[in-house]
Amino acid sequence: MTRVLERHQALISGCISFAVILLTWQLAVALGFVQVFFTSTPIRVAVAFWRELRSGEIAANVGVSLYELLCGLGLACIAGIGLGVLASWSRTIEHILEPFIWFTYACPIIAFYPLFIAWLGLGAPTIIAIAFLSALTPLYANTLSGIRNADRDLVRAARSFGARRRDLFLKIALPGSVPIIVAGLRLAAGRALTGVIAGELFGAAAGLGYSIAFYGQKLKTTEMMVSLVMVVILGVILTQLLSLCETATDSWRTGPGR
C-alpha cells in the first residue's frame, strides 16, 4: 500500500489539490462569501458541461478552434523551419530575415486584427493568420540554432570521411536539430493557442474564444466557465503530447548530459 502511495505520489497530491480547489470554490458560494453570479459553482459548470457536450456545442467550438490552431501551426512549421534552414545556409539571408522575424515576435499580433479582417474577412482565415504569425518565431529561431549548433565532433568526423556540405546538412545538422525544433514547436503551440483564443475573442463568429466572449457579454458565467475549462484541457493535452514528442525524438541520444 505504501509503495503504491509513493509511486503515485504526484498523481495523488495533484488530485487532492484539484479537489481542494473545487471544494473551496463550491463552499465559498454555498456559504455566501461570493455571489454565484460572479463565479458560478463547480456543480453548475459540470451540469452545463454535460449539457453542452450532449448538444454538440463543445464539439463544434473545439472543432473550429482546433482546426484554426492546426492550420496556423502547420503553416508556421512549413514557413518557420523553411526559413530557418534558409537562414542557416547563409548569413546574408539570416540578416535579411532577422528584423522581420523579431518584429513578429515583439509585436502584439492581435493589435493588427482589424487589418486581417479587412484582408481576409471575419472568421477562420483571420484567426489562422494570427496563429501563424504568433507561432513563427520560435520555430524559426530553434531550427536555426539547432542547425548552427550541430555537434562539432560529428561534423569533423563526417568531413574527414569526405562528406560534402549537402551531406553534412542532410545527415548531421538536420537530424541533430530535430529535438530542438520539437522544443520550438512546443513553445510555438502555446503561442499559437494564445493567438487563436485571443483572436477569437475579437474577430470570429465561432470557436472557444468566441463563446467565452459571447457568454461573457451576456454575463452567463457558467457557460463561460465551461469554455474556459475546455481551453485549459486543450492546452494541457497539447503540451503533454508535444512533451512526449520531445522525449521521443531525444531518446536515441546517448552520452553525457542526456
Partner: protein
C-alpha cells in the same frame, strides 16, 4: 537548460570581427529599407489597396497627426501604469512563490498540477471573467497583466532554484548557514540567470496582456486607441500605436537581456 528555451538570445560573436558585425547590421537595415520602399511604391501605384495597407508616408503623417491632436502621453501613461502595476505584482508574487516551490518538494507536489494547467492555457481567456469581476477600468487590466506575467516568473525561478549547484548549497549548510542565508546567498544568485530569463519572457506576455485587455474593453490606453482606429479603418493611426507598444516591449526585453549578459559574464561556462 531552463524550462523555456533561450532562443531569443543572439549567438555569441564567434567570429567577433567588427566587419562582420557591421555587415550584418547593414544587410538588416538594407532589407528593412527595401521593404519600406516596396510598401510605399506598391501602395502609391495601387498594386495593393492603400486603404487596407496604408503606406510608410501615411504612417508618418499619422504619427505627426497623433503627436499634434491625439492625447498620446495620456494613453501611453494609462497603459504603462497598468502594465507596471501588474508586473510589479507579478514579481512580488512570482519570486517568493518560485523560491518556495523550488525549495520544497512537498509544496511542489500540491501546487504544481493546477499551476501547470493554468500555465499551459492562454490566460487571456480569463479576460471576460476578470472584467465581470473587476469592471472595465484599470483593475481588470492590472489583473490580466499579473496573470500573464506571473507564471513564467514562477516556473523559471523554480527551475533556477532546482538547478542551482547542490554542492554549493550543501557547503553553505555545512558551514552553518541558516535557511535564510542559503536562500539569499546561494539560491537567489544561483538562480538569477533563470529568474531573469523568466522576467524577460514575462515582459512579452505582460505587454500582450495589457494591449489585448484594453482592446477588449476599456476607456483609455494604447489598446483602446488601436481598437478605435481599427474600427474606423484608420490603418495608419493604428500602426503608429501598434509600433509604439511593440517598441516598448522590445526595448524592455533588450534591457533585461543586457542585464542577463552582465550576470552571466561572472560565472564560468558549465
Amino acid at each position: 537548460m531552463a524550462v523555456a528555451t533561450d532562443y531569443a538570445r543572439r549567438r555569441a560573436p564567434s567570429i567577433g570581427r567588427a566587419v562582420d558585425r557591421y555587415y550584418g547590421a547593414l544587410v538588416s537595415t538594407g532589407s528593412v529599407v527595401a521593404f519600406l520602399v516596396v510598401w510605399q511604391v506598391a501602395a502609391a501605384r495601387g498594386w495593393v489597396n492603400a486603404r487596407y495597407t496604408s503606406s510608410p508616408s501615411q504612417v508618418l503623417a499619422a504619427a505627426l497627426d497623433i503627436a499634434r491632436h491625439d492625447d498620446f502621453p495620456h494613453h501611453a501613461w494609462v497603459s504603462f501604469s497598468e502594465f507596471s502595476l501588474g508586473f510589479a505584482a507579478a514579481l512580488g508574487i512570482g519570486l517568493p512563490l518560485g523560491l518556495a516551490l523550488g525549495t520544497s518538494r512537498r509544496l511542489r507536489l500540491f501546487v504544481d498540477p493546477p499551476m501547470m494547467a493554468l500555465y499551459t492555457a492562454p490566460r487571456l481567456t480569463l479576460l471576460p471573467i476578470l472584467i465581470i469581476w473587476l469592471g472595465i477600468g484599470a483593475a481588470s487590466k492590472v489583473a490580466v497583466v499579473l496573470l500573464g506575467a506571473v507564471f513564467p516568473i514562477i516556473v523559471n525561478t523554480m527551475a533556477g532554484v532546482r538547478e542551482t549547484d547542490p554542492r554549493l548549497f550543501q557547503a553553505a549548510r555545512a558551514f552553518g548557514a541558516s535557511r535564510l542565508d542559503t536562500m539569499i546567498k546561494v539560491l537567489v544568485p544561483g538562480a538569477l540567470p533563470a529568474i531573469l530569463l523568466g522576467i524577460r519572457l514575462a515582459i512579452g506576455r505582460g505587454v500582450l496582456s495589457v494591449v489585448v485587455g484594453e482592446m477588449f474593453v476599456s476607456e483609455a490606453g494604447i489598446g483602446h486607441q488601436i481598437m478605435n482606429y481599427g474600427e474606423a479603418m484608420q490603418v495608419g493611426h493604428l500602426m503608429v500605436y501598434a509600433f509604439a507598444i511593440s517598441l516598448f516591449g522590445y526595448a524592455l526585453t533588450i534591457a533585461v537581456r543586457l542585464i542577463e549578459d552582465r550576470v552571466r559574464s561572472w560565472r564560468p561556462e558549465p
